[in-house]
């Protein structure tokens, strides 16, 4: 059995912006798919609960879940090239998202779709609404997808690596839009802690399917408490490091099939001690951050 996500707990307050950072195999995307209940069989949620305003999503039937997806929960995937249906116009796909959960006449839905496209920064939305995805650039497609995700004003908007496939200047535009979304509660998943810092108030750092650290973004980036977070932050090349070797974390990200016992970071951790053979709990610190490390 592969434990992609193991014992992960966190919460987002209404209107909050939480980021999850982690490297490949950290379980960040599986966490977001679990919230949407989109884990492909034979994978499944073995235990735990996902509470949306007190309602446990893991206990809902597939039909109830379908009602929720797109209306209360929306997910934006990484790859804007494959997330749109090539045989429908951009507008038709936004309209479909609108009409799936609400009774709207075709002309009302079209009006609303144009409004949404304008809101995500698409110029000339009256014209773009009738264009097919292949006519749109990656940045434009990602905007259309965000418009679809926002169509029904969801309680929670999950963005899974929303800008990873985009150029930096286009990324800056998309992040600007996300930052400007009032009311939306956002869960942003990214490998790039810089992107999380742009948008989020809080960050959860995941590694090997576990939460390593959780706190205010500024706190975590300025004074990381977990050795993994420290190592990760100091591997980022910065101008002061020019001409000097970068600090590195030795070894490689563990394979999910062959997870080390105890703390998943133990084999790469310079400070590891015998206690680390057992997974430390995520404990609150005086400054309200939470860290899963025996030594923190």
């Amino acid at each position: 059995m592969v434990k992609a996500v193991d014992g992960v707990s966190f919460h987002i307050t209404t209107g909050g912006r939480l980021g999850i950072v982690g490297e490949s195999g950290s379980g960040k995307s599986v966490t977001s798919l679990s919230i949407m209940r989109l884990i492909d069989p034979p994978g499944r949620i073995v235990e735990g609960e996902i509470l949306l305003k007190g309602r446990d999503l893991t206990r809902l039937t597939e039909r109830e879940m379908r009602e929720l997806r797109g209306r209360e929960l929306s997910l934006v995937f990484q790859d804007p090239m494959s997330a749109l249906n090539p045989v429908y116009t951009a507008g038709a796909q936004v309209i479909e998202a609108l009409q799936a959960h609400r009774t709207l006449s075709n002309s009302e839905a079209r009006e609303r779709a144009i409004q949404l496209l304008r809101m995500v920064g698409i110029s000339a939305p009256e014209r773009r609404v009738d264009e097919f995805p292949h006519k749109l650039s990656g940045g434009m497609r990602q905007r259309v997808i965000i418009a679809m995700a926002l169509a029904n004003e969801p309680e929670l908007l999950i963005l899974d690596e929303p800008t990873t496939a985009l150029d930096v200047t286009i990324q800056a535009q998309i992040l600007d839009i996300v930052r400007g979304l009032r009311r939306a509660t956002v869960l942003l998943i990214s490998h790039d802690i810089g992107v999380v810092r742009e948008i989020c108030d809080e960050v959860v750092v995941m590694y090997g399917g576990r939460v390593m650290e959780w706190g205010q973004v500024d706190q975590v980036t300025r004074a990381p408490k977990h050795p993994y977070t420290r190592g990760l932050l100091s591997s980022i090349p910065n101008p002061e490091m020019r001409g000097k070797p970068l600090r590195t974390i030795g070894g490689a990200v563990p394979n999910l099939l062959n997870m080390p016992r105890g703390c998943p970071f133990r084999p790469r951790c310079k400070q590891a001690v015998r206690e680390c053979m057992e997974m430390p709990p995520l404990e609150s610190k005086p400054d309200n951050s939470k860290v899963a490390c025996w030594l923190a």
Partner: protein, 367 residues
């Protein structure tokens, strides 16, 4: 094609022309688009449009830009994987675009490459030993024992173990595969390595290991490296000098430190400001550009960046700015390079619409 920029730039201080290893002059790499009746060539994608630059011996030259700016086409042209339409690429004085098969073979020894994709760039049916020694087998009449020794030395040097030599690529992680790719590139003791996004497929914690390895080996072997990447912080860290490309043009070129501290081309400034910053290592005002890169099929007249530039005036549409030396060893292609000051940056993340500026009103893409 009308404006041919001055091809010879004075190399950085303390160097003479003899130090130039790769001299690229007025390089144009275009790709035809065929369409219509009889499949005629109807249009050209001007991937690299009149670029001149010099790479010095032992220099780490970084090339940055967004997708479609031509940085990879430039790298591929040097490797002769793409065929340029015009211009010269001189390697130690010899134009590799016109070289005979024999001298090209010699040049190929000296010019090696590291690819982006650690999964697709190693032959899955060859073991690591054959992968690393393949170039030696083709290029060198080396005794078997000698070759074996060299391969073992290389595998040690890139931080893998000798028992790894008998394994196959699928048994390795992305970072390890990239190390194998580096060992393969070094096997022929090249003078120049073209590295196109060598670390962008790697996780952050592995990326720094590979960057450190490249830096060490560059020093040890005295290599010149053309480092093509989209990640600005990686390029700044790694490179001695940095060139910025936009829509097939080289728009700025300077010492890495200088470029990051005092960009003189609005596009460079916008690009630098757009990069998310994880650690607050620099404070700069974010510039969010309107619109997207225009199609290279139909680049704007004059300055390629004018359609998104908040400084654009009439002259920018009429006349293409030359890449000129703004300060010693700092080149920029902008009519207003001297005037670009922090207070000229657009306010409040919105490009200011000056009377003649098209920024902000132009559709993001041509219909």
């Amino acid at each position: 094609m009308s404006n041919t920029s001055n091809p010879v730039q004075v190399p950085p201080s303390g160097t003479s022309y003899n130090d130039v290893l790769v001299d690229i002059r007025n390089l144009k790499t275009f790709f035809p688009i065929r369409s219509g009746f009889l499949n005629r060539k109807t249009e050209w994608v001007k991937a690299v449009n009149d670029v001149s630059l010099q790479i010095l011996r032992g220099e780490k030259f970084g090339l940055v830009g967004e997708s479609g700016c031509g940085k990879s086409s430039l790298a591929r042209s040097i490797l002769r994987l793409d065929t340029p339409q015009a211009g010269e690429i001189r390697f130690e004085g010899e134009n590799i675009l016109k070289a005979s098969a024999k001298s090209l073979r010699a040049i190929r020894r000296d010019v090696q490459t590291i690819f982006q994709d650690p999964h697709g760039s190693l032959d899955p049916r060859m073991n690591v030993r054959s992968i690393i020694s393949e170039g030696l087998a083709v290029q060198d009449k080396m005794a078997r024992g000698e070759r074996r020794e060299l391969v073992e030395h290389l595998i040690d040097r890139v931080g893998l173990r000798r028992e790894h030599l008998d394994r196959y690529p699928h048994e390795f992680s992305g970072g390890q595969r990239q190390r194998i790719g580096i060992a393969r590139a070094l096997a022929l003791k090249p003078k120049f390595i073209v590295a196109d996004e060598p670390v962008s497929a790697l996780d952050l914690s592995v990326q720094s290991q590979v960057l450190n390895l490249l830096t060490e080996l560059q020093k040890e072997f005295g290599l010149a490296i053309l480092f093509v990447a989209h990640d600005l912080s990686v390029v700044e860290y790694f490179s001695d000098r940095v060139g910025v490309m936009y829509l097939g043009k080289l728009v700025e070129l300077a010492d890495a430190r200088e470029l990051y501290a005092d960009a003189r081309m609005p596009y460079t400034l916008a690009l630098l400001s757009a990069a998310p910053d994880a650690t607050n290592s620099r404070k700069r005002e974010r510039i969010v550009l309107k619109g997207e890169v225009p199609s290279p099929l139909n680049p704007p007249s004059g300055c390629p960046f004018r359609t998104r530039c908040w400084m654009a005036r009439d002259i920018c549409a009429q006349q293409e700015p030359e890449l000129r030396e703004i300060k010693p060893f700092h080149w920029a292609a902008c009519h207003f390079a001297e005037k670009l000051e922090p207070w000229h940056r657009p306010r409040g993340n919105q490009p200011t619409t000056q009377e003649t500026s098209e920024a902000g009103v132009r559709p993001d893409r041509q219909p």
